[in-house]
Amino acid sequence: MDETRVAAGALASLPGITPARLKMLMGGFDPEEAAERVNGGRHPADPQGRWIGLCGRDRMAVLGERCLESAVDVQVLGMDGYPPSLSNDPMAPAVIFVGGRKERLGDLANASMVCTVGTRAASPYGMKVAYELGKELATAGISVVSGLADGIDSAAHRGFLAPFPDMPSPATGISAHTGHIFHTAFPVAVVAGGPDVAYPRGSGDLFDAVWDAGVIISEVPPGVKAQRWRFVARNRIMAALSDIVIVVESHTSGGSLHTAGYALRQGKPVGAVPGPINSSASSGCNELIQSGKARLVRGTADVVSLLEADPSVSGSRDKSKKKKKIVVVQSGGAAGEASCHGGDQDLRFIVLGQLGFQPLTLEEVVVLSGRPVGKVSLCLELLADEGLAREQAGSWTRC
């Protein structure tokens, strides 16, 4: 990695840095100069000199080393290699860290990207819809952007990866514009921690699978754990990377509604999957549809027609804009994402989210949560003790 990128990475790693401060530090200077000024206390955007000595050669060497070790790249806004779709966003991050199949980053521009988002506390219905949608989009050669959170996010990516167990590069196609063969569909995850940090705990297998097959993007350097406030920016980046956003299941307040909101502001179509009128997990989606902000999505066909209706896409033919973008959004409340402590708490949350009034067999709960039978069993038994879940004839429902 060249010095410029390392310097940019070092700036993005400063303690207490935020996307806005980073942009100010990097505005008007190239990254190396910015870093040198910050380190020497001579940066106009840092008049108090709070980062003096924190951005020197030694720090850069450490960061460069860490990126090398974790196989993470640094991409800088305005430089080659930075995803063009993201740079169209006026609030695009100045620096991103990229893991997984980094060479795919260039394909972002060629592929149809759908962001699927939804709540962490998803119902079995939402989980199934997300899983099926992910699977069908993969088969249709449409990439899925999501946040790797529990619930809808994970279900969508699990479904996406299901058709291609042995092929890290799912589908290939020929670009209508360049004639090059490219991989049309791959999973893209935008995470709030370092791109090498599996989160939430226990989702390591899915994280690894996405890493192997697609791209993991973060504003945070490798090795750093997710911070709660980063989820907001994460939701915005997902919207920016995608052509459309699909909210699979969402409560009336939740991170996935933010993603949908960002997409609407960026002029991108938003779809929502309707749910039972008495299901709180679908209330956000139903409201999006009722208010006319989102188109009703009943399945992959609706997603595809939404993609084709995307003005940026149809316009692309004459303006030789290369890609179609679709975003499927999972609803995920900030409250859910905040419970990043305690593995059992996490699982409890996931399982509780899956249980609904339709009975689920143990096997279904295990498949949907992606955790071992023993852990899921204990979780269910404890939920039964709390009076939150009930077993009847081997199937589980919510009380």
Partner: protein
């Protein structure tokens, strides 16, 4: 002149030594067999006479009495033809008694003096006290698996006599077919896509020897999982292999060259099979049934509810004691039948009972269907899990599961821990020993207590849960105490029984 030739008869799967005493005396020429012979043994007279004559020997003109001792045991089968013929030759001084010293004889004779196959070679050869044994050549390789016996084979009565007189050779072991190990390929667990609970249940069943009930609609992979169970079990020890070989021999099943199996047997009788073929018995000879052929292995009963009621009832004794007792008019036998039972059933007649809205059965149909599965039988299953029909996409798409090899190594490690406790597997730990052998953590104890109190768990159910939880802890190679997670998983891996039985679990 009295001749005394050692031999044996088959009782179930065990040999029982018999002395064939032949006495030739002056008097009215005649021939009689005493000592409780059955019809086949009484007919020996005609076969032996023809065989002696066609082989160039004389038929005694004396009064001949054949006594089969001990006389209290009923003698069945035709394997006594050769010892009777040998007794006749000695009694009529056509062969030197010295030549047959220390030698036992087995074999059915053809009218031309040829020696024919008979069932039960292995247990028969094993039981006689003599160091040397003569058997028909077709039984030679099978007989050779018995340790510490000199086994000689011959194709005819003439060859036996010539060889004994030093005028000819024997058929040597291995010259007809190759005895020894079979190479059975079990299907691999990696072929099972998805189904984490079903796979887990099979693993726990193999590790702890727990009987397993699979409940699911047709096409949910019940058979696929069951057939992968034998591959997870540890290979047979020599003693186990020999006991399996004895049973196969006694049922005339081992004529395919694989006399000492290294892998546990897998038997899957169809539900239309007769009670005799499954349990054992029969009119001609007391033939071991499928449950004995599954000894030390896996018995798979698909469509459990469709089996004959008598079959289901007769399973209880073997499931409890590892043996089956069979009584006939004059004989009774105790046959080994320690198998791992894997049974499969639909949740209801139409098979879709687990998917809400799909079942087309009336409550009455359901009730009648499930009534065939008696409570006491269902109680024997430590594990019962429900399986769903995988979607076609999942079959094509899901990541391959763990391989048999990997799961089998965990099973072997878990079984090692059971051996350290002094039991062959956790399923056979007696209830009184559970406190000592399966101590529980406070968390685990309190979970069990809560389930007992709420009535979802019975006292007997609790012991089964503890055994399964111990197996789960063994698989995880966890510490000395059973944890709440292990108990919870054991509870869940048994919960599906309430689909077919609603009173308790």
């Amino acid at each position: 002149m009295i001749a005394n030739v050692p031999s044996a008869i088959l009782l179930g799967v065990d040999g029982s030594p018999v002395s064939v005493e032949v006495h030739a005396s002056n008097g009215v020429p005649g021939f009689s067999i005493v000592g409780l012979p059955d019809a086949a043994v009484r007919e020996s007279r005609d076969r032996v006479r023809a065989a002696l004559l066609t082989s160039g020997f004389k038929w005694s003109s004396k009064r001949v009495t054949v006594n089969l001792a001990p006389s209290a045991v009923r003698k069945a089968g035709a394997a006594l033809d050769l010892p009777i013929a040998m007794g006749m030759l000695i009694a009529s001084e056509q062969i030197d008694p010295e030549a047959v010293t220390g030698c036992a004889f087995f074999g059915e004779l053809g009218l031309d003096g040829s020696l024919r196959y008979f069932p039960g070679v292995i247990p028969l050869v094993d039981v006689v006290g003599t160091p040397k044994v003569v058997v028909p050549a077709v039984c030679l390789d099978e007989a050779s698996v018995v340790p510490a016996k000199e086994v000689y084979g011959a194709t005819s009565l003439r060859q036996v006599v010539d060889a004994l007189n030093g005028g000819g050779g024997w058929v040597l072991p291995g010259s007809s077919s190759t005895p020894g190990q079979e190479h059975e390929d079990f299907p691999d667990l990696a072929d099972v896509r998805g189904q984490p609970v079903g796979r887990r249940a099979v693993e726990v069943a193999a590790a702890g020897g727990h009987h397993l009930l699979l409940i699911g609609p047709p096409g949910s992979g019940k058979t696929m999982l069951a057939t992968r169970l034998p591959g997870l079990l540890p290979p047979l020890t020599f003693d186990e292999s020999l006991s399996v070989a004895r049973i196969r021999s006694a049922s005339a099943l081992s004529q395919d060259g694989a006399y000492l199996p290294s892998r546990p047997p897998f038997r899957a009788p169809h539900h239309s099979a007769t009670a005799v073929s499954i349990v054992g018995g029969g009119s001609t000879w007391l033939r071991p049934g499928e449950i004995s052929l599954a000894h030390r292995g896996v018995l798979f009963m698909d469509e459990l509810g469709e089996f004959d009621r008598a079959v289901l009832d007769s399973l209880r004794e073997p499931l409890e004691e590892g043996v089956v007792r069979i009584s006939r008019v004059r004989v009774s036998a105790v046959l080994p039948a320690r198998f791992l039972l894997v049974a499969a059933t639909n949740p209801c007649p139409c098979g879709e009972g687990m998917t809400p809205g799909s079942c087309r059965c009336t409550p009455r149909m359901r009730e009648r269907y499930l009534a065939r599965l008696s409570g006491p039988l269902l109680d024997r299953f430590d594990l019962s899990v429900s399986l769903a029909k995988p979607q076609v996409d999942d079959l094509l798409c899901m990541v391959p599961g763990e391989s048999t090899e990997r799961v089998a190594s965990r099973v072997a490690a878990a079984r090692d821990r059971a051996h350290e406790r002094g039991v062959s597997c956790n399923a056979v730990i007696p209830s009184w020993a559970l406190d000592q052998l399966a101590p529980m953590s406070p968390d685990a104890l309190s979970l069990i207590e809560r389930r007992l109190r709420s009535g979802v768990l019975s006292a007997r159910g609790m012991d089964r849960i503890r055994r399964v939880a111990l197996t789960i802890a063994d698989l995880a190679q966890d510490g000395a105490l059973i944890g709440a997670e292990h108990v919870a998983e054991a509870l869940q891996l048994r919960a599906a029984r309430s689909i077919v039985r609603t009173d308790e679990r």
